[in-house]
Symmetry: C2
Subunit: 297 residues, 2 copies
Amino acid sequence: MANITLKQLRYFEALAGQGHFGRAAELCSVSQPALSMQIKELEGQLGMALFERGARQVRLTAFGEDFGRHARGVLRGAQELEEMARKAREEFSGRLRLGVIPTIAPYLLPRVFKALAARYPRLDIQVRETLTSKLLTELDEGRLDAAILALPVSEPSFEEVPLFEESFVLVRPEGEAALPVPSAESLSQMRLLLLEEGHCFRDQALSVCSIPQVRPRDGFDASSLSTLVQMVGAGMGVTLIPEMAVPVETRSASVAVARFAAPEPARSVGMIWRKTSPLIEQLRDVADLVRDAAGRA
Amino acid sequence: MANITLKQLRYFEALAGQGHFGRAAELCSVSQPALSMQIKELEGQLGMALFERGARQVRLTAFGEDFGRHARGVLRGAQELEEMARKAREEFSGRLRLGVIPTIAPYLLPRVFKALAARYPRLDIQVRETLTSKLLTELDEGRLDAAILALPVSEPSFEEVPLFEESFVLVRPEGEAALPVPSAESLSQMRLLLLEEGHCFRDQALSVCSIPQVRPRDGFDASSLSTLVQMVGAGMGVTLIPEMAVPVETRSASVAVARFAAPEPARSVGMIWRKTSPLIEQLRDVADLVRDAAGRA
DNA sequence: TATTTGCCATAATTAAAAATTATCAAAGCG
DNA sequence: CGCTTTGATAATTTTTAATTATGGCAAATA
């Protein structure tokens, strides 16, 4: 046995409203027999008469009235589906799950949030802050829509766009502020404080200093840039931090910040998403917006 | 542009649940391309992607999730329509609008109500008590489903079934109880009290007495059998009432009731409905039930 | 009462939609 | 690499729904 269709319900509603097959058919822009047949088919499927066809007029049966009340709700629901789509189409709305690595999130997000909220008022932005490896897994599994991290990622299934270059700056104890700025390479000779393993920034810092690899030293590896700066302030050594973290992290610490001589060491920050993502258009737009927000710093 | 169909929603729901075109198609008992095409069509109509087709799995988009939540409601609504029909089919339920003339209603209905409620527990019985002419109009206009009144009606658009014969009895002042029962015809010589114009029972009484027509006499025509009996009790004259009214109307009045000699004057009470009514089957059943209830008096 | 008219049902046919089978291309996997 | 899985596409067939034409019934008209 076949199933009820929305078309039948639309015809039904027209006929219930008009009480006249011909006019109802015209209202639906179909011929009268088309409507007659669909109504007949519907009644057949239900096993119940919906209309009483009198000589002078077509009337709803008691069951037809009940049916009509309920059918109206179904039709309205179907129409709302289309309206949902229309609304969603004309504006990027819904949910955006964005992953950001910890050495970027606290410094970039405040600006990005503001810009995103202004551009897409109806967008629900969910942020996940974690290490690159986890971001990649979650992105791949569809639990994130995009991620902001250090490029390159070089996953063929991801599209990546660069956002900005971020220089690394030297953070030394306040007392050393007057000393000449050492070259990045010469940092390997100093007590260089690093983030824990897993942070890409740890590897980037080591790479800048041309140090191939270092065994993690318990108690010496910090879990955040903030801790790192505090450790420098306590005289435990020197460190590198990304430029963007400077205003926030060095404000209340007794440390001196120094830029390296050109060419400054730096990393590329970018945004990635699945090549298959249906949000690609919007994500490109979001990337532009993030780039703007970061540049206007 | 075409419209969303319930079939598309069913396919959508299957795919959302399975995350796999092949399995979803199997669940719907169709081929995989059939389902693929319908999903594609649906996405095209919405102008929005519902699924992200990754290499390893098919995932709902954020919009797809919203859509799914709403779509589920629409599908459930459609299914409820079928359930409504199934329920209504297996039992006479809904609403029965029954018209009854005033000279029958008060005496017959108590019994009929009980019988109907026992037989059709889910039936909502609405009674309209008014004169025959109004009943006929309202029945014709579809504002009533059936009517109980005195036959014959002889409208070709109505089907009529007899229910029972109802004798007329003589009501006299208590003091006249010992007198011989006059013949019906001889009542024309007495002070015969009648109902107001419009009551069929007025005409039936006159007909029984072989009185062709009488001008209404203000203040002498009663608006109900109850009043009529009270007037007899007050010594204003004699009257006829239908047998069925005797127990109720003569209980507390100082009147004497006498049956006429055979052949007793009587009227035929029956039930009518539109020949086009979709309730015909059930109405025949109701008529049987009313006949039973009346006979068991 | 005969006639005409309005209105819905039915039939025959055509048009459109949706299904099927077969095949392809991309991506994961041993 | 081949091999498998999986979804998209193409060609075709089947099914469904539409159209036009026609018929029949009952009410309104003359």
